[in-house]
Amino acid sequence: MFGEDDIVKSHKARAAIIINLIILSFIIIIVRLWYLQIYRGDVLYKYSLENRLRKEVVKAPRGLIFSRNNQLLVNNIPRFDAIVTPQYLKNKKTTLKKLSQTLNMPLESIEKILKKNRSQARYRPVVVKKNISQKEVAVLETEAAKMPGVSVDTFISREYRDAEVGGHLFGYIGEISQTQLPKYRKRDNFDYKLGDFIGKAGIEEKFDLDLRGDDGFQFMEVDARGRMKRVVSSGPLFGEIENRPASPGNSVRLTIDRDMQITAFKALEGKVGGAVAVDVKTGEILTMVSRPSFDPSKFSRGLTSEYWAQLVNDENNPLRDRNIQDHFSPGSTFKTITALAALEEGIVTPNTEWMCGGAFKFGRRYYHDWKRGGHGLTDVYKALRRSVDVYFYKIATLMDIDVLAKYAMELGFGRKTGITLPRETSGLIPTKEWKKKRNGEEWQKGETLSCAIGQSFVLVTPIQLAMAYAAIANGGILYRPHLIKEIFNNNGDILKKIEPEIVSRVGYKKENLDAVRKGLYQVANMQGGTAWWYRGRGIRMAGKTGTSQVMSMTKDELFSKCEEMPYRQRHHGLFAAFAPYDDPKVAVAVIVEHGCHGSSAAAPVARDIITTYMKKYEPELHAKYAEEDKAIAKKAWLAAKRKKEELEKKKQEAEASSENSEGEE
């Protein structure tokens, strides 16, 4: 290279500066060491001997959950654990023996727990028994002096006011597990640590980031037995000690009405199914109940293995929310959509009358009506009122499946509604393309017939049904269902207000919507309607029954009595409705698994929910309707009486046989 000797030499001045800087920085370190080791040495030595400084986590209370009327639904309550700190344990044998007597648990299991945690630092407390009683707390606190190393740990647990009511809705919280830790850290960009509680289902899961507060911490000085003495704050010794108070989580106000929840829960007593009610003008969910259910409180107090086994082994799967996580064949509740599609497409007008016998021949197959003898001359109103299968078979022959699917999808079927709850399922609306993709087969026209009455491939969730019926009721606005009205902080300041969100406006003709609504009205309010016997009073309910076959059946099975079949083969009963008819306010969808009939099993649930709504929110309207219903009922009763008397007379006179009117559906 170049003759560079001189160049290197010219850098000597800088090298000298560098050496001086190095020496200077080590002098700074040495001064610092002198300060810590000589000047402050004695104090710090003491600290190190007993390790008197301990960092304590201050748990943040979780946000509360309120009903739409500000009733407290989910609360926090203190819970107590018995803990042992190995470092401070003296006379290990006698202390543990005493502890085992107090807690009424075998000595071996306490030793086993301690053994299991042996590898962690000895100053770390070990939870020996979770959730001890008030009495045990009192004994431990008074006997503490005799049991060094044993103490009581308090922390906040979740209390769900109505236990099983809305278990699915609220979900539950649980300790984050080792395997979940990295996943959740990444998902929420939040520094979780083991032992943190997180929402694991329902609202607790979906709104976890809002509900969960931020844990604080403080430095505590402890005595030789590990007992907290005082909070240590900043000083010259340790410099800036940052003690951070816990900031509580934000609370939420739901759209849920507690009274309707309880009504729905009671109405589903002894049944397996779900019910959901929504406000037709906003898409707010008023009620959402699924049974069998579970008690989320039991989760947050530390789940017992018995309770967990009971939940998991129940063949009806209590952990599943039937309103959003399960889908069903809608059965006849889907006829409303078929009717609307036929009207919009001009296939029928409200007054198109067709003769409907007991079966409909298509190709080489007979498609049966639920009523053996048929219904006779039928228009759209009657088709809905009496759920005339043949009428819809006929429509299906004139309509392409893709057209039907288009209408169903416009009303929100076949895709997730976007409710703010985890693990929603989308249901299924079949199209030709879907079938081809699924198994490479062409669509069979006969399948359209089955789809038109809500059987075959069609699958819906109760929440979809409720939203679709709400859209029909409100003139064609499909809302996104929502659960949370607002989120507010500890001071009551509203942080976020959730406004109704319109998914789409279907833009169907008013006269067609009116015709369908009228048909639905007659279902419950005209003699011969399939839900006539479950119409209630003062609610003006308009709805549609549905019975969905669990498995395909032969003709004989179809007409055999459902209640006599094995439980697992019985039909599901569905009912979807809105009320009141003149000015719809609430829409409801109910499913009762293996309930046999939409009318007798599901309709009463909807009726009860709507009645509670009307009494609470529209008392005047309810009273007025009830009065009118009473008058109508009286008139009907008188008419029936007169007819009966006439019949009686005729019978006596002629001894002729009269036909027996059958029960509905």
Partner: protein, 370 residues
């Protein structure tokens, strides 16, 4: 090669670097044993054995490097630099994840940490650049542009891993080299003022409180993310409790009770102080000082400017690690997670320092051997 020739080589061979480093390492291994032997986990308790194996591997590789002629460092510096950039990019895409960061490439039993060798390759490439273009002139702002880019590319890649500590270290090495290469005092003042101003503005006006924390957590996930300074406080207690003479070998209560996490990596100096006190750390600091002065002295006694700059770069690599770690555990700087050279547990860093010693020895030997 016959015996007498070998003896001739050994006579001229400069053992000062390996010697000093070996002395520091001896104190380190004793300290590591003391800190971890009582640990409940078998893995921690046997760390000192692993560290010994790493040490011998580092010595062998370092010695091998010492027989490479310095002109080859010059010749292959660009290739070496590009290779490490490639590895840094590679590690971002298919690196092994540990502790929330992506720093390693796994090759069978070997775990390669490209950011470690990057420090060395940046030193070589900067030395080449500064030696080639006007090595006799003082540097202005404009002369810094290209070398700054050369240093900034790996810095950014390392910060993305994310490993803030090592990333900033590369920049510090760059600054040390630029200073040695006669950066004008005026330019230093300008850079200093600009840096300070922009830092203050960014921190006070640009970021909100929670954003600052987010950024810090993102850049350095291994740090105490909840910002409490627990480790720093326990470290100070450990150091202070050593007092003048220390508690003695294997007597550290902070380590044995596990109050001080990471006591085998970042916080070895705290444990050393607790056990050997003020006197012990004076001795240790003296050893480090000897090593650094030896480095700088070598830098001024070589004949080629490239060699001189390389030695200054290596010296700064050692020095920054040492001073930042010491300042961090004594509570003078925030915890950034840099190991103490030759004292902290860790194969990658030990290997780096071994190779650095090899390079310095090679340069020293080239004056009278080759």
């Amino acid at each position: 090669m016959n015996l007498s020739a070998l003896l001739e080589v050994l006579k001229k061979y400069d053992f000062s670097f390996f010697g000093t480093c070996g002395a520091i390492f001896m104190m380190g291994i004793v300290n590591l044993y003391s800190a971890t032997h009582a640990s409940a986990s078998a893995h921690l308790a046997s760390l000192y054995k692993t560290q010994l194996i790493y040490f011998f591997a580092a010595i062998i590789i370092g010695m091998a490097v010492s027989f490479i002629q310095p002109k080859n460092f010059y010749r292959y510096s660009i290739f070496f630099y590009l290779l490490t950039i490639f590895l840094l990019v590679l590690v971002l895409f298919l690196g092994h994840k540990g502790m929330g960061a992506q720093r390693w490439i796994v090759l069978g039993p070997l775990r390669l940490q490209p950011s470690e060798i990057t420090k060395l390759s940046v030193i070589f490439v900067l030395a080449r650049f500064f030696a080639k273009y006007n090595p006799d002139k003082e540097l202005g702002l404009r002369d810094l542009l290209v070398p700054f880019v050369l240093a900034a590319i790996p810095t950014i890649l390392i910060i993305l891993e994310p490993d803030l500590g090592t990333g900033l270290l590369v920049l510090l090495i760059f600054m040390a080299i630029a200073f040695y290469r006669k950066l004008k005092w005026r330019t230093i003042a300008i850079i200093g003022i600009l840096g300070m101003l922009s830092g203050v503005i960014m921190y006070n006006f640009g970021l909100k409180e929670y954003q600052k924390k987010r950024v810090l957590t993102f850049l350095n996930p291994g740090s105490d993310a909840r910002g409490s300074g627990y480790n720093a406080i326990q470290s100070k207690i450990a150091i202070g409790s050593g007092k003048f003479l220390g508690k003695g070998f294997k007597k550290s209560s902070q380590a044995s009770l596990n109050y001080l996490p990471e006591n085998h990596t970042d916080f070895v100096f705290s444990i050393f102080n607790e056990e050997h006190g003020f006197v012990g750390s004076l001795f240790l600091i003296a050893l480090y000082l000897i090593l650094f002065i030896r480095f700088v002295w070598l830098a001024t006694s070589v004949t080629r400017i490239f060699d001189s700059i390389v030695v200054i770069g290596i010296a700064s690599l050692f020095f920054w690690h040492t001073i930042i770690n010491m300042a961090m555990v004594t509570g003078l700087l925030p915890i950034v997670g840099l190991p103490l050279p030759l004292m902290s547990y860790g194969g990658s860093s030990l290997m780096t320092f071994g190779i650095c010693c090899g390079v310095a020895t090679s340069i020293s030997n080239s004056r009278n051997l080759f």
